[in-house]
């Protein structure tokens, strides 16, 4: 019933890109509530990237915003850890029973117990490399906005950025990504992506609370 409610609130364009099925463990109500913001980025995150993730995620949690991420190493892991202090949703690129990376098993167990883990991949299905960009697109769909902390030219994060832009969701790219001359990130600004800086994040996060998607 929960899943049907989720699908029923989507627009036609959203339905056309939504995964055909969705499996979950935890509190599915989190998916129906807003605001939800995806915090994503590189697996091979720098020390500064970890600090940035912690800072951004803390600011979001303090505003009652649910942290959405992909349970990968690096930025995703840090985002979820902070999210445990508020609410967090893990969007898996594997069936729910598989934890990738294995090192995040305890984190995933905690999320399943007190938060929410979702996957579009049925139990027993083979985990392909293509699962992960597909998972990124689902993250874009369920989130009111996406924040990119660190990324490289070939980062899977770019799939999420483009999908979010197609769906009309706001994409915020941290200044450091643009300074690193990541070309797709610079291109995303031409289609409505915004640079997130020390100066503007406070005002933007306050605004996000107003523009959150909840069913009427």
């Amino acid at each position: 019933m929960y899943i049907e409610k989720f699908y029923s609130q989507l627009s036609d364009a959203e339905k056309s890109v939504a995964p055909k099925s969705l499996f979950y463990e935890g509190d599915f109500e989190l998916l129906l509530k807003s605001p939800k913001v995806a915090v994503v980025g590189s697996r091979d995150v720098t020390d500064l990237g970890i600090k940035r993730t912690q800072k951004i995620a803390t600011e979001l949690v303090n505003r009652g915003i649910t942290i959405v991420s992909g349970l990968a190493s690096g930025v995703d892991t840090e985002a979820h850890k902070i999210g445990l202090k508020g609410k967090t949703i893990a969007v898996l690129g594997t069936p729910l029973s598989i934890c990738n990376p294995v090192a995040n098993k305890n984190l995933l167990d905690e999320i399943k117990l007190n938060h929410l883990a979702i996957s579009q991949f049925p139990e027993g299905s083979v985990v392909h490399a293509s699962n992960f960009p597909a998972r990124n697109k689902t993250m874009a769909l369920i989130s009111d906005a996406t924040i990119i902390i660190e990324a490289s030219e070939n980062s899977g994060t770019k799939h999420q950025a483009w999908e979010a832009i197609r769906l009309g969701r706001q994409v915020f790219i941290m200044e450091n990504v643009l300074k690193a001359d990541v070309k797709w990130a610079a291109k995303a600004l031409e289609y409505g992506g915004m640079v997130l800086t020390n100066e503007n994040f406070d005002f933007i996060f306050d605004s996000l609370i107003e523009f959150s998607l909840e069913s009427l």
Binding site: Q9, E14, L167, G168, Y191, M194, N200, E210, E214, S215
Partner: protein
């Protein structure tokens, strides 16, 4: 002074009765994600209860609806575009005769909702420089008489005023109006469902002012 007549259905703002504010915020968020079911239901209701006369006089069965572009170009033609979805819902409910996406955004402009002050929001001139007529949509017919620009929310009316000027150049003899489901209000919201006529004035100074007609003839609007 240039003027554009407006018609809006709902109030959207930050102050006032909490449940009304939250409800209007949710409706705007849904609209911005092209989740237009509530608008469809509302239009059906006012049609069936014959309360849509004012809207019908603003958007006739022969009106050409033109969606106002988002603040950035569309990544792909099928990307979500709230104003285009609103046009579809209007047409489905018998408001307007056709919809044409005649205006396109060539370059992104700063998104007004994330600007701290009204001064930081793009001016009419900045909008004009970033917009163009999409000649590929349909051969332009200069005999078009009745045009309604359509957007999701009108606040200061700068984007609408830029589109108005652009369209006026193409259709010099046409009547051009604006329809938005929502208008941003600075005063307290006590009831979000409040259809109102209004007018956006554009002054030589470059400022816009959205004046909303009120029953009490109160002075309500935005001066930027």
């Amino acid at each position: 002074m240039m003027s554009l007549t407006t018609f809006t259905l709902f109030e959207y703002g930050k102050k006032g009765d909490r449940s009304s504010v939250e409800h209007s915020n949710k409706m705007v968020s849904n609209l911005k994600a092209c989740r237009v079911g509530f608008l469809d239901g509302y239009l059906k209701e006012i049609k069936s209860e014959h309360k849509g006369n004012q809207l019908e006089s603003h958007i006739s069965s022969s009106s050409i609806l033109i969606p106002i572009p988002k603040s950035a170009p569309l990544l792909i033609p099928t990307a979500q575009w709230p104003a285009r979805e609103i046009c579809k819902v209007l047409l489905q409910n018998g408001f307007g005769g056709d919809a044409l996406a005649l205006i396109k955004r060539e370059r992104a402009v700063p998104k007004a909702a994330f600007q701290k002050s009204s001064e930081a929001r793009p001016s009419v001139q900045i909008h004009l420089e970033s917009l163009s007529i999409d000649k590929s949509v349909k051969p332009l017919n200069s005999l078009v008489e009745d045009i309604v620009l359509v957007d999701d929310v009108v606040t200061q009316g700068r984007t609408a005023m830029a589109c108005f000027q652009l369209i006026m150049e193409e259709f010099k003899s046409a009547s051009i109006k604006l329809f938005c489901p929502f208008r941003t209000v600075m005063n307290e919201i006590d009831q979000w469902d409040k259809p109102k006529m209004g007018v956006i004035n554009y002054y030589e100074s470059g400022k816009t002012f959205h004046r909303i007609d009120t029953a009490e003839d109160d002075f309500e609007g935005f001066f930027i």
